[in-house]
Each structure stands twice: as C-alpha cells, then as structure tokens.
C-alpha cells in the first residue's frame, strides 16, 4: 500500500469530523512547555547540498584511525555481500511478520537465525532478537525470576566482571520490580569471579547467577564451576556471551555437570553489524526448553500446509502485548529484524569454520598485541589467566593522557578503566580482532613507546 500524505483539505475534513478546528487543539492537554518545537543541537532545516556536505564532514571524523577498543563492540570484517543482501527491498522494508501469508521469506530467515543461535549456544530455543545485549540481560533477569518459582528472594548475583553498561541497564530496568542485585567482586589476581565472594551466598536463597564469558576484562571464567555452583544453590545460571567466542569456547548448553546454563544472552553486533557510533545493535536470547514459556519475544516454527509444503509461522509469543494485553511481560522485545537478517546472512556466508577462524585469529592478534605492548618498559598485564580477544594492561603513566596522545596519532588505544573500576588506575582494556594486522600492532607498539617517552614527568609521577 503506498503512503499518501494528507492534503490540507483532508486534514481539514478530519478535524471537522472530530469537532476541532486546528491540529494544535488535539494536543491542548499537553503543557505548552513540554511541546518541542526546536531541539537542542538540531539546526533548522537545510537544503540537500548543505546536508550532504555536513554528513560528509561528520563521516570523515570516523574514517581515520586504527581501532584497538573493544569493550562490548567489536570491529570484524563484514563481507560486502551481507549488507548488499540485507538491504534488498524484500528484507529492508519488511515489518514485524505477524502475517505469515505475507512474510514467508522473513519468517524463514528468522527460523534459520534461531536454528543457528541454538547451534552456537547449545541451547534448546532462541527468540527472534531483543534491543541489544544489555537489555537482553535485563530481560533474562526478569525471565529467571519468573522461571525460578522455588526462589522467593528475587536475588540476582551480578559479578563485577559483567560489562558495566549491562549491569547499569539491568539495574535500571529491573530494580524497581523488586529485584535485588547483589555484586560479586572479581579476584584481583585473575580478574575472574572471586570464589570466596561467591561462597558467601552458599545456602542462601539465590534466584540467579549471571556468568559472563568472556568477562568484561576479556578473561575466561570457570563456567563449569560457576554453573554447578548456581544449580547446587537453587539458582538459575544466566550466561552473557560474545557469540563469536562460542566458535572456540565451550557452548553454554554444555556448561557444568548438569544440563548447562538456563538462559544465554549476548550482543549480536559482532555477527555482521558494523561499528556505527554505538548502534543499532541487537540482543541474543536463548534458553532451555523448560523456560520457554517465560521467554520474551517471538519464536518462529516450521510446519507444513495441507499440501505438504513447508511453511513458517510465529509459533510462540505468549509474553507479548497482543496476547497478554496489560499483563505482557516483555519490556523491550524490539525486533531488530534487519540486524538479525544481516547476522543470519553473515553466519551463513562465513560458516562455522569461518567463525572459528575469526575467533582464533582475534585471540592470536590480541595475544601478539599484549606481548608487543608488555615488552615496553613499565607496561604489564593486570590479570593472569587466559583471555579471549581483549585484555587489561597497566600503563606507567596516566591512562587518559596516554590514550589522548595516541588518538592524536590516529590510534585508538583502548578504554581507560578507572572510570568504571577506580582501583584499576592507569589500566586500559585493549582489543585486537582479525582486522588488526601485524603491522597495525607494530604501529601501536611504536606509538606507545614514543608517547610514554614524551609523557611529562607529572603524568608519569602519578604511577606509584
């Protein structure tokens, strides 16, 4: 159906029909001070030529520089075919596929996405995407509280090694629903969950334990022990994973000695979405079959019509607003359909071997980066133990000053951690994916050597 704007006559006729004279009359219940006529930072309308020029200027700000920042968003190679296909009109214009007779292609794609996600995580069921990884964790927490009916405490243990933004989002969405988040510190030697801190909760009523793998510091947790601890203490195990890492790490469905993790969430961005100033991304959510009734979002199933032909339908959507009305329990189940489309195409193009190659190359490049940088006097790794494709380094100078100096040389050298973890003074989280070459790593090493050598004494003096 084409979109036809209303003419002035149409608008006038509609206003007369409802008995008002102007469009503003429709909004007279809203205080005038709340109505936005102009927005801060948004200029007045401009011509196409001026807009094009502005956009080019803005785009150029992003173009330069070697990126060594990960911290939840990762620069991976995306084959050109991914977005060439994903932006075809058939996918690009499709809305949430409520009508199976009109959306077989999209429904089939979602079905295949779900299948791939179950294969990757080893879980029984996958939904068709959430807003992003952080809100997927919030939904997983709400889901765990509904699913774990034996637990009355609504207490969720949240390790400090879970991405700080994820913790913040989960807290913002869930805290007012009576959910009691309790932090679990990390072991200062390894950067992974502190076993003694966790043991404090043994025998208590715990609803769920969140298990990051890899954690925010890039470190690998003992997921088997953590999953078993959760189940031994009556808690559900919620895995927070990087989907690329699952090509080489053990799948959450196999964690521990029992049935594996209960719910698995993650950020889908590394599967085919570019770094684009923070979005749009999409959230992954998978679970065991026993919890499927508590899962937000939608599940697409495959069936056959009366003539035996394959057909795809939205099979399960019990938590959604059009089924549950005011009792819907999905808070944010925005279907990031286009990104799911891109991820599905991405995974089908590179395949399991391709994904494993991305993962192992990224790990090797980060190991090489850590080795090169710790070869510089005063630079050292903060934590022991294995890491995936990020690790934490301590610099012999103020981290913010060093990163600023590197940025002037078009090297984005990592994320300073003191703002999130005050005790990690002068520490930076660095990342190298398969897109960083040996030459890139050498360039970073040389630049850091020079920057540190030129650091004024004041900046260096801050290191004890």
């Amino acid at each position: 159906m084409p979109f036809i704007p209303h003419t002035d006559d149409d608008i006038q006729a509609m206003l007369e029909a409802i008995g008002v004279s102007t469009i503003d009359d429709l909004f007279d219940e809203i205080d005038p001070s709340l109505r936005n006529v102009s927005l801060a930072g948004i200029p007045e309308g401009a011509g196409e030529q001026a807009i094009t020029r502005l956009m080019h200027e803005r785009a150029n700000l992003d173009a330069a520089g070697l990126n060594f920042i990960g911290a939840g968003a990762y620069e991976h190679h995306v084959p050109a075919a991914v977005w060439e296909l994903a932006t075809r009109g058939e996918f690009y214009s499709a809305y949430t596929p409520y009508q199976p007779e009109a959306s077989q292609g999209t429904l089939q794609l979602v079905y295949e996405y779900q299948t791939m996600m179950c294969g990757l995580t080893g879980m029984d069921v996958a939904n068709a995407s959430l807003y992003d990884g952080a809100s997927a964790l919030a939904e997983a927490v709400l889901m765990a509280v509904r699913a774990n009916r034996k637990s009355k405490s609504k207490r969720v243990l949240m390790p400090a090694g879970v991405h700080p933004f994820y913790r913040e989002v989960a807290h913002n969405i869930c805290a007012n629903q009576g959910i009691d988040f309790q932090p679990v510190e990390y072991d200062p030697a390894t950067g992974t969950v502190d076993q003694a801190g966790l043991a404090r909760w043994a025998g208590e009523d715990v609803t769920a334990l969140v298990i990051p793998q890899p954690n925010f510091f890039g470190g690998l947790e003992d997921v088997d022990a953590l999953t078993d601890w959760a189940h031994a203490n009556g808690a559900l195990a919620i895995g927070v994973v990087n989907p690329v890492s699952l090509a080489v790490l053990s799948e959450p469905g196999g964690w521990g000695s029992g049935d594996g993790a209960d719910i698995v969430v993650g950020e889908g961005q590394p599967l085919g979405a570019p770094l684009a100033n923070g979005g749009p991304y999409f959230g992954i959510l998978c679970c065991r079959r026993a919890h499927v009734r508590q899962m937000p979002g939608r599940v697409v199933g495959r069936t056959q019509d009366m003539e035996g032909r394959d057909g795809y339908v939205l099979t399960l959507q019990p938590r959604e607003q059009h089924i549950r009305r005011s009792k819907a329990t999905s808070n944010i189940c925005t279907n990031q359909g286009l990104l799911v489309t891109a991820a599905t195409i991405h995974m089908s193009l590179i395949g399991p071997e391709g994904l494993a190659a991305v993962a192992t190359t990224s790990m090797a490049r980060t190991a090489a980066l850590a080795e090169r940088l710790t070869g510089i006097e005063g630079v050292e790794r903060v934590f022991d133990g294995p890491f995936f494709h990020e690790c934490v380094l301590r610099l012999p100078a103020d981290a913010d000053a060093v990163l600023a100096a590197l940025a002037e040389r078009d090297i984005f050298g990592g994320l300073a951690l003191a703002g999130f973890y005050p005790e990690l003074d002068n520490a930076v989280l660095v990342c190298a994916t398969e897109t960083r070459t040996e030459g890139d790593i050498e360039a970073y090493g040389q630049a850091l050597t020079e920057v540190l050598a030129r650091m004024p004494d004041a900046a260096r003096a801050s290191v004890a």
């Binding site: 009916r149 009734r293 019990p318 089924i323 009792k327």
Partner: protein, 131 residues
Amino acid sequence: MSDIPKDLSYTKTHEWIGNDGDGTITVGITDYAQSSLGDLVFVELPETGTKVGAGDGVAVVESVKAASDIYAPVDGEIAEINEQLADSPELVNEDPFGQGWLFKMAIDDETALGELLDADAYKGVVDDAED
C-alpha cells in the same frame, strides 16, 4: 448450550467451585469459559502453599488467541494443583468439570462459599454474556 452442573458453585468470572466437604474446594473454569477461549495451549498454575485472597489472580490459561487470568473465588491457601495440565492443557477443553480441574484450596471461612453463584444465577451471567 453450555453445560452448567447443578451441584457446583460459580463466579461471575467463570470459575466453578466444588465443595470437597473437608474444608477444601476444587476450582476449574466452566464449559462456557473453555469454549469461549478455544483450544488451550498452556495453563500456568500457582505454587501450593500460597496464601490467596478472594479475587486474586492466581492462575493463567492461554489459548492461541489470548491469555486469561483465573481468580481465587474465596480466601484461603492453595492446597493442590492439577499437575496433568502441564503436559495436557487440552484436558480443560475436553473435560472442564472433571479431569480439567485447575487447583484445590484450603479455605479460611466456609461461610464465604454461600456468597458464590448457584447454577441458575450463573446461567443468567452466561445468557447475558451471549446476548
């Protein structure tokens, strides 16, 4: 025409209540309710031991089109749930007054049962709803 057994009590929200005679009651949804909802695909039942008040939403029945609350008819405590419904929600459609029962409650005050509808009064509710 819906089946409305004479020996049961009813609520305006389409629950039926059977007095077990030992301080407990059995609760289900009526034939009219199950046929209005259509094929049930899931029944979410309360935890046994939960204290509930009259009018509290304690269970949810889901059909392919809608999810509907089931309310406690009187004050009391959930004594037993129909475990069979976890795997066979269709029992509610097939035998709403028998194998499709939902839960049993230990009731606080037997006299509260006197305020429930009898079969004739409930028939009036259904007739009004069908008009």
